[in-house]
């Protein structure tokens, strides 16, 4: 957004005064009285009063006439274009080891930035144990623990392999994963199949029921979905998301509309290409799992954002994720680097019998939905969410409006009725986050700190500003900007 751009000779005195008042309110009045247009800012120190960081931000502003400002503006425009142009489509369901490059041997993927086994929180460790049992690397939980303690299992973030996982997000080689392709850019992303609520692997449970379900995914659900996709063709996830956002979903914590639309979409093909007993199992499973679409939603967002990664100079956020200990973000312009800060417990309502002392710190790759502009950013679509923090539907709209301050575009494909079909706020700019102090808002479930207990509540988490501050400093360093350039 540039203004002025005045010729040397003519200059300010030629054009008349059109002013922005920054600071003492009284200075605006004489200007107004003289009949000149003036906007008075409700100004507060940027970057929470950190002078040096505030100066860095100023030197990183968009500026077509400047090496730095021009490069950043162009890079961000490109990143946003790619995000908005994303066409995520579900093309297949395959075993993880076949679909995901580099996932082989005794390797497990997990959610969030890199973390070692001994540092992992309860639910993630539980999920790892469950995965070892599922893979047959151990016969009992105790054996599994020995393996893990001995360092015999390799851990890598899902994100590094084009994958995303909710909560613990553990992916093992034999798990079926949804394969989502971004039609616009050609890249692919992956996510396991959502298990439902209750005692599930992603909350760290690993009892017989969990393992049985995982095996059923391998034997039945995975192949069934694969057959359906081959017979009926790929499924347009963007279209389902767009509709669901107008039906009370926000794509992260409320997924029932999208899951229903998905089920409706595959129903005719299911009816004609699967045996009736498998049909019954598939439909029964989908009927009981309101959140089935979540994993597909996450993979769709990941596919869109990955296409915008690696653009030199871009301050657009391409990933936000948590591993239960740290919150990490990535910027397009700084590639695979994670900027991390310790993560806290979400703010929310707890199910009866549970409280904040039971809660696990924020966990999961599902913040990829907010990174793409849905989830908490689309809270205006799902006002029911704010009940979890004692708010009103107007607050839900308020959150989406607030996120508009830190994003570069509106995604017209995802229009929200309560905002006059205005598109969801998309393209988080790390500079704006630091400048305004407005942290991205994430709608999330709250897990019990102990493995295997499950979800104990839901609420709202705010990404730590420290991650964005570090990221901005890194970009500034890349451009060779110190305090005074």
């Amino acid at each position: 957004m540039t203004a002025g751009g005045l010729v040397h000779d003519g200059g300010l005195i030629h054009d008349g005064v059109r002013a922005v008042n920054i600071g003492l309110a009284g200075f605006a009045d004489p200007i107004r009285a003289a009949g000149a247009p003036v906007v008075a800012l409700d100004w507060r120190p940027p970057a929470a009063g950190d002078r040096e960081l505030g100066l860095l931000l100023a030197w990183l502003e968009d500026d077509p006439s400047d090496r730095v400002g021009g490069a950043i503006a162009a890079a961000n425009a490109q990143a946003v274009d790619r995000i908005l142009a994303a066409q995520p489509v579900l093309v297949d369901v395959r075993l993880a080891t076949e679909a995901i490059d580099g996932l082989a041997g005794r390797m497990l993927l997990h959610s969030g930035p890199p973390i070692d086994w001994d540092a992992m929180c309860g639910p993630v460790q539980g999920a790892a144990i469950g995965a070892c049992l599922f893979e047959g690397w151990a016969e009992t939980p105790a054996e599994a623990r020995k393996l893990l303690d001995a360092g015999r299992i390799t851990f890598e973030p899902c994100h590094d392999h084009g994958a995303v996982g909710p909560m613990a997000g553990v992916v093992s080689p034999s798990m079926p994963v949804a394969v989502v392709e971004n039609g616009a850019a050609g890249n692919r992303s992956f996510a396991t199949l959502n298990e439902g609520l209750g005692k599930v692997l992603r909350f760290g449970a690993y009892d017989d029921g969990v393992l049985e379900r995982l095996r059923w995914f391998v034997s039945t659900l995975g192949p069934a979905l694969s057959t359906v996709l081959r017979a009926g063709g790929p499924i347009d996830l963007k279209a389902i998301t767009a509709q669901a956002l107008q039906m009370g979903d926000e794509g992260h914590n409320r997924n029932v509309a999208a899951t229903s639309l998905f089920t409706r979409t595959i129903a005719p093909t299911v009816a004609t290409s699967l045996t009736s007993s498998v049909q019954a199992e598939v439909f029964t499973f989908l009927r009981a799992n309101d959140h089935f679409f979540l994993n597909l939603s996450m993979a769709a967002c990941k596919a869109g954002l990955d296409a915008a990664a690696g653009i030199d100079g871009s301050t657009v956020v391409t990933a936000m994720s948590r591993n239960g200990v740290d919150f990490g973000i990535r910027l397009s312009g700084t590639g695979p680097t994670w900027f991390t800060a310790p993560v806290g417990v979400p703010d929310g309502l707890y199910f009866p019998g549970y409280g904040p002392d039971d809660a696990n710190p924020d966990l999961g790759d599902s913040a990829i939905t907010e990174t793409f502009g849905i989830g908490g950013f689309a809270m205006a679509a799902a006002p029911a969410i704010v009940r979890f923090v004692g708010g009103t539907p107007a607050d839900a709209i308020g959150f989406t409006r607030l996120m508009e301050r830190i994003t570069l575009a509106r995604n017209a494909a995802y229009g929200l009725p309560s905002l006059g079909f205005s598109g969801t706020p998309t393209g988080i700019d790390a500079r704006r986050v630091v400048e305004t102090g407005v942290a991205p808002v994430i709608n999330t479930g709250i897990a019990h700190r102990e493995a295997g207990v499950g979800q104990i509540g839901a609420g709202i988490a705010r990404a730590p500003l420290a991650c964005f501050e570090a990221a901005v400093r890194a970009i500034a360093r890349d451009f060779g900007i110190g305090v005074a350039a």
């Binding site: 279209a239 509709q243 107008q246 017209a412 229009g415 079909f421």
Partner: protein, 269 residues
């Protein structure tokens, strides 16, 4: 959302899903606000391979693979007069009354003062119905012509009324249907708005909006419950502010006309 664009040979309608099918129309998926996408009245509209585009708004519409739909009344909309039909029409009227907005042709207790155009419209409607009851073609067509372009709204209320009336007359096989259809379409572009003219031209050719089909099918079905009627009526009312109820006013008036056997025997004037 109903956008009327200029295109040879005439207007083409782009409607969003909630509006339902329309004659010479493209139904677009979802409920996108076309205005929010930058579409404005008067923008140019061009055919492309596979569809249409609105270049000034940067919008492309791909119709390959789109389902097609006929605006002609289906068989199931053909009505047989009788006491059952009358009672279903009465139920449909009652439902319409509940949600009709003031300001159109639908009678409303809420109205305090009568607008001049409304007074004139009522007189014309009385004459029209009188002509239809008595097979008096001249009286009916004269009154109908007076209703073209009369009233407020994007589609003048008179036009909506006539569209509903023509659908009802066609569905019941009224002998004066043909004459009336020809009369209202004559020189219609000079007599009413573009949108009204398009609607009347299509109606005269037997092409009606899907929502009218739905109401006729519901009313025609002997098994229709008030829930079915209600859903069809409410869908028809979604359109415009008073357009929906104005159209239904004409439709129900046509359905309430006495059957041929009950009409007084009179030689054609």
């Amino acid at each position: 959302m109903y956008i009327d664009l200029e295109t040879p040979p005439g207007a083409l309608v782009i409607a969003i899903e909630s509006v339902g099918g329309v004659p010479a129309g493209i139904l677009v998926r979802g409920s996108t606000n076309l205005v929010a996408l930058g579409v404005r009245p008067g923008m140019s509209f061009e055919p492309t391979p596979g569809g249409w585009s609105i270049p000034p708004a940067g919008i492309r519409i791909d119709v390959t693979g789109a389902a097609t739909w006929s605006p002609a009344l289906p068989r199931t909309a053909r009505l047989v007069r009788g006491p059952d039909l009358a009672s279903r029409v009465a139920v449909a009227r009652a439902i319409t009354s509940r949600s009709a907005r003031a300001g159109g042709l639908w009678p409303s207790e809420r109205r305090s003062s009568e607008e001049p155009w409304l007074i004139r419209a009522r007189a014309l409607i009385d004459a029209l119905l009188d002509g239809l009851r008595n097979d008096d073609g001249d009286r009916a067509t004269g009154a109908a012509l007076g209703l073209v372009g009369l009233g407020i709204g994007l589609t003048p209320s008179g036009d909506d009324y006539l569209i509903g009336m023509l659908a009802g007359l066609e569905a019941t096989g009224h002998p004066l249907h043909g004459i009336l259809a020809v009369a209202v379409a004559e020189d219609v572009a000079a007599r009413t708005t573009r949108v009204g003219a398009a609607g009347l031209t299509h109606a005269s050719l037997g092409a009606y909006p899907e929502r009218l089909h739905d109401v006729l099918v519901a009313v025609a079905s002997e098994a229709a419950t008030s829930r079915d009627l209600g859903r069809a009526v409410e869908r028809a009312m979604e359109f415009g502010a008073t357009s929906g109820s104005d159209t239904l006013a004409g439709l129900f008036a046509a359905l309430d006309l006495p059957a041929a056997a009950d009409r007084s025997e009179r030689p054609a004037a």
